[in-house]
Each structure stands twice: as C-alpha cells, then as structure tokens.
C-alpha cells in the first residue's frame, strides 16, 4: 500500500510541476525535504532517547505490572468470555498498561502473547474470535496518556503551550475507543444469536 502511495505522491508532483512550470521549485523541494527530515530526526532524537530511558526505569520498577493490576477488573468485564484462570487476561492488561504509558516497544510482545492465548481459546483456526477483534481494536486506538513525540514536535515548532492539547487528546481517544469497542461488541453480540 505504502509503495503505491509513495510512488503516486512523487509522480503526481513531477507531472504537476511540469504542467505548471515549477521545475526549479520542485528541485528545491527535494533538497529542502531531505535536509529538513534529518533535522527533524536529530531534534526528536534527544527527547525520544531521554523518554525511553526514563520509561525503562519505570518499567523495571514494576510500573506496568502495577497499572495492570489496577486495570484487570475493568478488562475482565470487557473480555467476559475469557476464563479467569487463563493467562490471556494478564497478558492483555500488561499490553494495555504499556500502551497507556506509551511504551510501544514493550506493548507489542505482550500483545502478541495475548493473541496467542486468545487463539488457544478460540474454536476456529484462521478466523478471528470476537475477543481477538476487541483486543486488536483496543490496540488500533491510541490510549497513550502522554503523547511525548507530539509534545516534542509542538515545542520544536514554537508552541507556547505544548501540552494544552492533553484534555482534547484524552476526550477524543476515549470517544474513539468507545465507538470502536461498541461496534466490535455489537457484532459479537449478534453472532451468538
């Protein structure tokens, strides 16, 4: 998919600048784009490294596990079909809490083992069970509490109130998650009849 998008973007710009006679601007665009992107990466790098270092400390101190314990009653209600003894629930809550803390690198391995557990509980081989759909939908919605990368970018481009967006981010994340879960549950409910 990205292959087509990338190709299309560049082809369209070349054709378009040929038609409008903006060849020189296009060349400048290529040069600026290339150097800007590296500038962006180097500015982002400091904050990203600092943040992942700090979060690793939190992770090792058991922050994620702690949050997981707080979340598991809620998650138990969302994943009603999962037996209480199953390892799936603890993996799911580790995945969700890592996502909340913005630890993408830690969330994915937990998420994959959660999927493996869910698959063991599912009767069908290559078809997603209702619980799997719910779990994947949670992971396609962003539930990160502190979007640090966006904060860093905003600061870089001269924002005066970097984190003024937080209430809006939380509100729209919650609404999006609610809609996603609602639809997933609606389909799941219908299949049982």
């Amino acid at each position: 998919m990205m292959n087509y998008i990338f190709g299309a973007l560049i082809l369209i710009s070349v054709v378009c600048s040929a038609v409008t006679g903006r060849g020189r601007e296009l060349t400048q665009g290529v040069i600026d784009g290339a150097s800007d992107s590296v500038k962006l990466l180097t500015t982002m790098a400091g904050m990203m490294l600092l943040w992942s270092g700090i979060m690793e400390i939190a992770q090792r101190g058991g922050f994620t596990a702690l949050l997981g314990r707080v979340l598991s009653p809620v998650l138990r209600r969302v994943f009603k079909n999962v037996p209480k003894k199953s390892k799936a629930l603890s993996k799911i809550s580790m995945n969700v809490s890592a996502n909340l803390l913005g630890l993408g690198n830690a969330a994915t391995p937990f998420g994959i083992s959660a999927m493996k557990e869910l698959r063991r509980l599912s009767p069908r081989e290559d078809e997603a069970s209702g619980d799997m759909v719910v779990f994947v939908v949670i992971n396609t919605a962003s539930i990160q509490l502190m979007p640090t990368m966006i904060g860093t970018l905003r600061q870089m481009y001269g924002s005066r109130e970097t984190f003024s967006i937080l209430p809006c981010v939380w509100l729209s994340s919650i609404c999006a998650l609610a809609v996603g879960l609602g639809i997933a549950k609606l389909f799941q409910g219908r299949e049982r009849d």
Binding site: W51, G53, E127, V133, L171
Partner: protein, 165 residues
C-alpha cells in the same frame, strides 16, 4: 514533566532498580525505534515537500476545502486523516507540515496535534497482531477500527473548538 521524571526515579530507587543501567538500556531501545522510523520519515517528508512545491497540494486543497469547510474541518488536516491509519511516518510528515505552514498553536495545528495523539497506525497494528497468530479472516475488525479513527478525527475538531478556541 520534570515532576513525572522525579516520581519515576524515586519509584525506581525504592524498588532498587539500577537507575543508570536501566536508563541507558531504555535509551538504546529508543535509538532503535528512531532508526526504524528514519527511512520512512525521510522518504515521505521529501514526497510531501515535492507535492507542495509542485503546487499539487494547492490544487487538491481547493478541491477538498469546500467539503471540508462544510463539515467544519480545517482543510490542512484532511490529508492527515486519510494517511493516519496507513502510515505513522507519513502522518508525522504531514503533521510537521501543518506546524510549519500554520503554526502548532493555530486551529489547524491544534486539531492536527489532537488527531495525531488520539489515533494509531491502524493497519500496522492489525497486520502485526493477526499476522503473529496466522489469522486470515479478520471479520469486522477493520470496520470497527476505522470507525474509531473517524470518531477521533471528528472529536479532535470538536474538542479543540470547544476547549481551546
């Protein structure tokens, strides 16, 4: 933020985490993430800048903006809504473009920030999780996930309008 860092450090001290070792290891992971997004970001920022320089974006915007304005969406964020579920790097490229053009505290800049913060790279997550257990029929996953993304886009504009302007 400094407060949060302090809390984490004290928490780590209490739990006897080797603070500096853990920090360095985490930062090393951070470099890996950064390096893994670097090629996408360079490629797509160049592509977006080319599109801008060729005046194709102006044409596209004049095409979409009437519809976008009718819905109350700033036209600058429409391309981001479309690319967000497909490519994380691509939407970051578009996000910085909005910041550059309108400023991060403008209406469009704020909407773009909220949109980026409340959505994920949907297709990537679906591919990783279903791919890892070999599931081919994903049923209503995509529909539910994209509805959530659409809700986030609408809510981003609504909340910024209500709370920040």
């Amino acid at each position: 933020m400094p407060l949060f860092i302090a809390v984490v450090l004290v928490f780590g001290l209490v739990k006897k985490v080797p603070l500096f070792d853990a920090f360095c290891e985490g930062a090393r992971e951070g470099i890996k993430t950064l390096l893994s997004i670097a090629p996408t970001l360079v490629g797509l920022i160049v592509a977006v800048d080319m599109l801008k320089a060729s005046s194709a974006t102006d044409m596209l915007c004049s095409f979409i903006s009437p519809a976008a304005e009718q819905l109350g969406f700033p036209k600058e964020i429409v391309p981001m809504i479309l690319l967000r579920p497909i490519s994380g790097g691509g939407s970051t490229a578009l996000l910085t473009n909005v910041y550059k053009e309108c400023g991060p505290d403008s209406f469009a800049g704020l909407c773009a920030s909220v949109l980026a913060g409340s959505t994920e790279t949907t297709f990537y997550a679906i591919a990783v999780y279903y791919g890892s257990v070999g599931i081919k029929r994903i049923r209503h996953t995509l529909f539910a996930a994209l509805s959530a993304d659409f809700t986030a886009a609408v809510m981003a504009v609504l909340t910024v309008r209500m709370l920040l302007s």
